[in-house]
Amino acid sequence: MKRILVAVAIVIIAVIASLAATAGGALGPLFDGVRSLAEFYLFNVFNAHNATLTAMSPEAVTSIVWDYRGLDTLFETVVFYMAIIGCVALYRGIELVRDGPEVGLSRIVKTVTKILIVVNIAIAASIALHGHLTPGGGFQAGAAMAVAPIIIIVVFSRFFLMKRGVTKEVALSLRSMGLLGIALVALIPLVAWAATGTVAYVMQNQVKIDSSFSFPAYIGNALVSGSLIWYNIFEFLAVTFGFTIVFLLLSVDEKTVKNALRGEEHEH
């Protein structure tokens, strides 16, 4: 009770401070326009008249993440990969058995979870595939779909997931396949350079000033935005299975881990 009063007092102090700041002439976060760099991005992101500066996607944030600043995203994916490798390395020597008692929560919770997981996976796939047209993309879809293994591990049990084939090795190889897909899409322009002789750059999306290589922006009548859709699909695969590995490792019970650690100490 005393802490709630202290919290309310903090909010009232903030109100008084902002009254003083407004009377003193502070400006607040209401700006008139945006910077000229932002206007450049917004004007050129779906502009077929400026063919050498465009990304052919109506969604500005996804095209900045995978086209204009694609190398930032590549290295961020590498950082995430290294963190998962670090987590796996902290658990070396502990093997996850596949057989165990499948005790979960009650029947009502299990039935509701079965419906919710199907809805979750469908929505996550939709976010990934529409990432270049509406707000969405690879990370968003991967984070949304990562909730499904967490709920399955808690409601059913870890052994339910592992008996049906989602083990640590399978998840690691699927994650590596997703990263391999991203690397392949990034290196396709170099292959085209070697094959045909036109200059092309790594992670290139549409035509540039001195390079006429381009991923197709429209397939039939559908707007595909060049390489953005392939990046989104492979990133979705990689992020989902990264989170699956982390939660499979976190749910191992402490007795198994203590036996493995104590066995290591006796060996020395």
Partner: protein, 84 residues
């Protein structure tokens, strides 16, 4: 009179300040985690009001789903109540 966006922004920023203080000063770790999750939901509204729908789609599963789940696993394994 006043813009609806600014009024809602002020309300949710105030809610987040309130629950941030409660989360840091609470002794029981599970309750501190629940207060932190409520504060993250208030921030999700703030991100939506600042016209950033991509960030909302990343922020809600991570900050209200994955962080509390991982920290709850951690609390259950260490079985600790915070001491002064």
């Amino acid at each position: 009179m006043a813009d609806l966006t600014m009024v809602l922004l002020a309300i949710f920023a105030g809610i987040s300040l309130f629950f941030a203080y409660l989360a840091i000063s609470e002794r029981n770790l599970v309750r501190a985690l629940i207060y932190s999750a409520v504060q993250s939901s208030a921030f999700a509204f703030v991100f939506y009001l600042l016209r950033a729908p991509d960030i909302v789609l990343v922020y809600v599963p991570i900050s209200v789903g994955i962080y509390p789940a991982a920290i709850l696993f951690l609390i259950r394994k260490t079985k600790e109540v915070e001491e002064p």
